[in-house]
Symmetry: D2
């Protein structure tokens, strides 16, 4: 499978380059980044041996015969890049955030028409995706849930997007099973605010710790026991396993898919089928 990387000089882009280089079944065929145009890639980034020269021209993706383009650029560039991919029937994996609903809708139509696929995901960290999935599955069996996310102390917002999504999914799964999380209210607050926030009975707590990276823990309790599901992300390379799943799976997508959850769900199903045989 031939892969092009758009935004190859950025932090995420160069991580993708390195990840693809380590996979025997993937061939890196094009690097695009206007800021590094004409530079031999390994010199620019201090990476050994791609042998590729960075191009400033999107047409390089087409010339190289790439099957899949991976885009980690910015919203404006990504929109243009994806229109180009759709027009030329090249599948795309997109980690760039900030595309509008309108743009996503348009791209869906264009990719549908082209017969190629496109996966847009805000979070490629496979561990985080599984954490949410498992927490959702476990919800019907537990009486209490608390989501605790911990990030570095310079994070501007709280809670993290993952924590909020996790809490919502847990709550919805509980309701779908005919239940609800209805914790006993604290009767006496010695200190206001210590119980954090709540999404339909699912507690959320945001910790900000100098030195930490990105961590989340879901604690679920019922009679005599607790189940804890924790994801620790140590650096941005944590996105790579999910990006590789998307690269290998995007050929099965028609139009635009949000998230890699469906690909993972299919992998689960094929596992169950194997076991059933």
């Amino acid at each position: 499978m031939k892969v092009a990387v758009l935004g190859a000089g950025g932090k995420m882009g160069s991580s993708v380059v390195q990840a693809v280089l380590q996979e025997p079944d993937l061939e890196l065929v094009a690097l695009v980044d206007p800021k590094l145009s004409g530079i031999e890639y390994s010199h620019a980034l201090g990476i050994a041996g791609t042998g590729l020269v960075v191009s400033g021209d999107l047409a390089e993706v087409l010339r190289s015969g790439a099957d899949v383009a991976v885009d980690f650029t910015d919203a404006a560039s990504a929109y243009q890049n994806l229109l180009f991919c759709a027009e030329n029937g090249i599948s795309a994996v997109v980690g760039t955030t900030g595309l509008s609903q309108e743009q996503l809708g348009e791209l869906n139509e264009k990719f549908q028409a082209s017969g190629a696929g496109c996966i847009v995901a805000a979070n490629f960290a496979i561990g985080a995706i599984l954490m949410m999935k498992f927490a959702e599955m476990a919800a019907p069996f537990f009486h209490s849930v608390e989501v605790i996310e911990m990030h570095h102390d310079t994070k501007v917002d709280a809670p993290s997007g993952t924590a909020l999504t996790t809490a919502k999914r847990i709550s919805r799964a509980k309701v779908a099973s005919g239940g609800a999380f209805e914790p006993d209210p604290t009767q006496k607050f010695v200190l206001q605010g210590v119980r954090g926030a709540s999404v339909d009975g699912v507690g959320i707590h945001s910790l900000r710790i100098r030195g930490a990276v990105a961590h989340q823990e879901v604690v679920m309790g019922t009679t005599g026991q607790s189940l804890t599901i924790r994801h620790d992300s140590y650096d941005r390379s944590s996105f790579m396993p999910g990006v590789l799943i998307a690269i290998r799976g995007v050929s099965t997508v028609r139009g635009l898919a949000v998230g890699v959850d469906d690909l993972i769900e299919e992998m689960f199903n094929s596992m169950s089928t194997d076991r059933a045989r």
Copy 2:
């Protein structure tokens, strides 16, 4: 649903009595325990208000019109109790361990013939069951796995049965997905034995700590991240949620089923179906 408890005076049995009393849809109709025959239950165990007198006679189960009998006795008693249930078409939930494969086979036939169901499980801790299930599902997506179990320091054996089963299931799931856990060997041992044991590349470590109860952690790692699934069991009441699932679900079982995993799997499937609608 009418429930009888066999071995009602034992530690597990009396926990079952208390758990059943708290469920509005379950009615406690018979308590059997030869050691407490004729005693008003609440007096004997210091529990408030069952209003029931303990019987030493198994026939009480039949007289009371019980739909389900829960057995936490010993292997010899359980075998007799279950033959009685099968003959009389009463479903059974069994936490007693030590029944032989031959006995289980015979009971399976008898329950098949009677049209009633029987669930025999060594572990009713729902959190432990989910931990194993999730670790198995996650296996294909990770490169390294270590299972760490921690129990009180008087536990006679190591590793725990749950840890060994977990490791085997993780390994099998990895192989089923076309992979294998093949950790890099440690090149230099400053101290022999520190890497613990291994089941097909899945590490197992047993900790023994005064004060601890029963705890297990599965740590799985891949590029830039780790996923940790942890179960903490704080006391024997941790079995109760699983026993209640079995009581409510045993009517769907024909013959003898080992473990509550299939009931839980069905609950997962009905959740997926609900979501798909």
Copy 3:
């Protein structure tokens, strides 16, 4: 050393009885509990072999020649019991809560006059005491701190007393070292309240989880790293190691001491001295 237990029939009292019975250097000589007066102790509590009959009369403490009386009763009884001990020169270890400052002041004078000692502590859990001590010592070296306490879901108040004390001590230690905890404020709250409460820059978060017992974690972070100190209390026997330290150490106390921290501090100092030699 001869030990009397006041409130021997209560939950804490009977735990003390069992703990004392297991220590070769401690001799159990008197059990007082008006509610169990005249009953052979082991029959009443289902405990093997104390050979003692419970007395309803406080004078039994004196008659038995006890060196130390351990009191886990209620505030009214404890006050009377301690006056009796002080008058008779018997040292006391007290876990009963609710004595007023005035009562404590009076008892201090009476114990001073008698030449005996009295230790009153709200928390004998040695692990919790060490957690607070270590967190305090570590405070000057870290930039961010969060205290997360987790208790069963029926706890009526929040935060726990231990969590509040921990946060205050951490904050004071930081100030004493010439610093202060001043976390960057969260700029954007997607959900209000998720950052919990704060005591002078030390975050506090209270989790309430069915099945949990009493747990607390202090997470401290600085450049590139975090230090986590966690205490898990699994049942009320967690108080016993601290009670035993108090029983053995109360002879060195004159008057009334609050907490076992000073005894532990002395043990630390003797350790340092040993090492220095």
Copy 4:
């Protein structure tokens, strides 16, 4: 305080440069690295604004009037660099490993003679140093201990040096308090080797996980409770807080000191004194 950095172009050296630049009371006056000689530092490393040109000549340290030289080079270079510092009365902080006992002895004499100080440390991670200190202090109060270290799966040796040192210090502290760790032996091994290694009754377990960095947990248990002390190191910048403590404290050292433990101990003592006043 004026600081020179030797090996300024290396991974650790450039981390030191960045750390020193952020401290208002420290002035970066010299950068030495033969491999980057003559290059303006910020251009070479992509760091903003030191305004300094890297020198290939050790004499630059003297010319710049540095009070302290920080050395992260290699054993051969460090030996020469430290002889130069000792001869010129410049204090030194050394993170370079591999100096022989003979060399350290000689350097101790030379620094003693010069009136300057030198701190050589294998581990500047303040969190790891505190973890060891606290585990040692806690040892007398607990009955069981297990040390679990987790590192990335390419680590060549096991256990980590920190884990081994931790176990030895815990064991020595227990013995110094008149006790010993003597865990009950496991009676039945379902799988050989699962209990890991042991240093005088302190268990050691090494986990190797793809994606992990450097983590260690000390779990200590006694009746009804456990105390866990955990250090997570997320990247090499975790050394910087300890390096800064050493830079600021080296002026109080005469001759050569191994480790920053003594400086930290002094900080603890001054805290106690402050509290006592």
